[in-house]
């Protein structure tokens, strides 16, 4: 029996909503990936990467139709509670933890919103424990928290979801390695070459500068861009704080350059 008053439904927290628009179909190749802002495959401070990193040079491919295209998802793929982690696994009440909204836009390197793209996210509960049969951390499972969700960006690239703030957790790397609080993100974009998995961190977390995974990123600015600031203006008073996390995918040329029927 749930004796609590019903909690308010999750609403789009965005203000100043831009007008929808229909971008022209782009079908050119993607901008070359700048690998200097990504972690190298072989990053010895993150020990698991040592045996799992290719050692040969990657073979650079001009994007063909195989990489310009990618899977298309729609609202039919999602359920109504998929972007509400406070409710999507609740059994007899709310999950324990700080209630937060995470919102932002999926953009490309030209600043355009990436519309209708699938964003998936997963995280530990407020105590830093994952609902996963391989996670044996002593912090307890929360019976009301699954820890995953997904959203489709709207026609401007905007997405949002509600959850509880995840806790930090220890892991086997050095004897005293702890992950800063983080949410894992998976993003598709419009083509296979934009596919990205990353993690979002929280402003002010003192574990950020000592995390062996986060510090695989060689570029300080690139690391800072994974840290979501508190966004008080988007919070819901007496309900939830908000954090803002924009995700940037590779930009795309408007037309395939070996075949420009309109001289674009």
């Amino acid at each position: 029996m749930n004796a609590q008053a019903p909690i308010p439904a999750l609403q789009d927290p965005r203000f100043n909503r831009p007008e929808p628009f229909t971008p022209p179909l782009r079908d050119g190749g993607f901008f070359q990936r700048d690998r200097s802002i990504h972690p190298p495959a072989h990053a010895p401070g993150y020990k698991s990467s040592v045996l799992r990193s290719p050692r040969q040079a990657l073979l650079s491919l001009e994007n063909s139709i195989s990489e310009i295209t990618g899977p298309v998802f729609g609202h039919n793929d999602l359920g109504p509670l998929d972007n509400d982690l406070i409710r999507n696994y609740a059994k007899d009440g709310d999950p324990v933890g700080e209630r937060i909204i995470v919102h932002g836009r999926v953009l490309d390197e030209t600043g355009r919103g990436v519309p209708n793209t699938l964003v998936e996210f997963w995280q530990a509960n407020a105590g830093g424990r994952y609902r996963h049969k391989k996670d044996t951390y002593l912090a307890p499972i929360d019976p009301n928290f699954g820890g995953c969700g997904r959203a489709l960006s709207d026609d401007t690239g905007y997405y949002y979801f509600r959850t509880v703030k995840p806790g930090p957790y220890p892991w086997r790397n050095y004897v005293n390695s702890w992950r800063p609080a983080h949410i894992h993100f998976s993003v598709f974009g419009s083509g296979l070459a934009q596919r990205l998995i990353t993690q979002m961190y929280f402003e002010g977390d003192p574990l950020i500068p000592v995390c062996p995974i986060l510090t695989t990123i060689p570029d300080k600015d690139a690391l800072d861009r994974l840290v979501a600031p508190l966004d008080l203006n988007a919070s819901t008073p007496f309900d939830s704080l908000a954090y803002r996390f924009d995700i940037v995918l590779r930009g795309q040329r408007s037309t395939y350059f070996e075949n420009r029927p309109e001289g674009n």
């Binding site: 190298p40 990467s49 650079s60 609902r131 996963h132």
Partner: protein
């Protein structure tokens, strides 16, 4: 100072970690949460084309299978057409085939399987004929940025020999790391593959 170009920078990649299943295949993490789930079965009973199983493993630098790896595949349908608006080639679309699936490796054996159809040959925008292939994307704990590779088919020797991407691979002996071997099991067509992350037979990975 010239004018700034003001491009944004791509968001940095981070490892998918050992618990990637929670978000992407929650049933493998041990729970049921979504009404609709993505899977390693790309076909419906009405999909056009030859039914095939892709079965393989990803091996680390010690030759051990990764037991926590996640693979996604993206492929054209049996007519060689991708289910995406940017593919305007002549092959017919198949409404019963999205062309995408994901699979986690078995926690004991490391085996990864997909149930799909064999893709047709692709004509790309430059008019080049490309051998039938499946695009593969790999993430796991210890993989800092998703790895892109391809699977070609052992029974497509002539098409493979003419494929513009396979022909970029030097030395040619490495091309064989991209070929899945056709076999049969209980009357079903099974293509088997091994993806080596390191070592003398390291698989060819692409910067796409």
């Amino acid at each position: 100072m010239p004018q700034p170009l003001n491009y944004l920078k791509e968001t940095a990649s981070q490892t998918a970690g050992p618990y990637v299943h929670i978000g992407l295949i929650p049933a493998m993490a041990g729970f049921d949460i979504f009404e609709k789930n993505f899977s390693n079965v790309l076909v419906t009973p009405n999909t056009q084309g030859e039914r095939i199983t892709l079965e393989g493993r990803v091996l680390d630098g010690s030759g051990s299978p990764l037991r926590d790896v996640l693979l996604e595949i993206w492929q054209a349908n049996a007519a060689g057409r991708y289910n995406h608006p940017a593919d305007r080639s002549v092959g017919a679309l198949d409404e019963e085939f999205r062309g995408w699936g994901r699979a986690g490796s078995d926690f004991d054996s490391g085996l990864v399987t997909f149930e799909t159809v064999k893709p047709g040959a692709i004509t790309d925008k430059a008019g080049r004929k490309c051998a039938p292939h499946v695009n593969v994307w790999i993430v796991a704990r210890g993989i800092n940025i998703g790895l892109n590779t391809r699977l070609y088919f052992s029974d497509e020797e002539a098409a493979n020999a003419a494929d513009p991407v396979l022909n970029l691979v030097e030395p040619p002996v490495r091309r064989s790391t991209l070929i899945a071997k056709r076999g049969e099991r209980a009357g079903k067509v099974v293509y088997t593959f091994t993806i080596n992350l390191q070592g003398p037979e390291e698989t060819v990975f692409f910067d796409v």
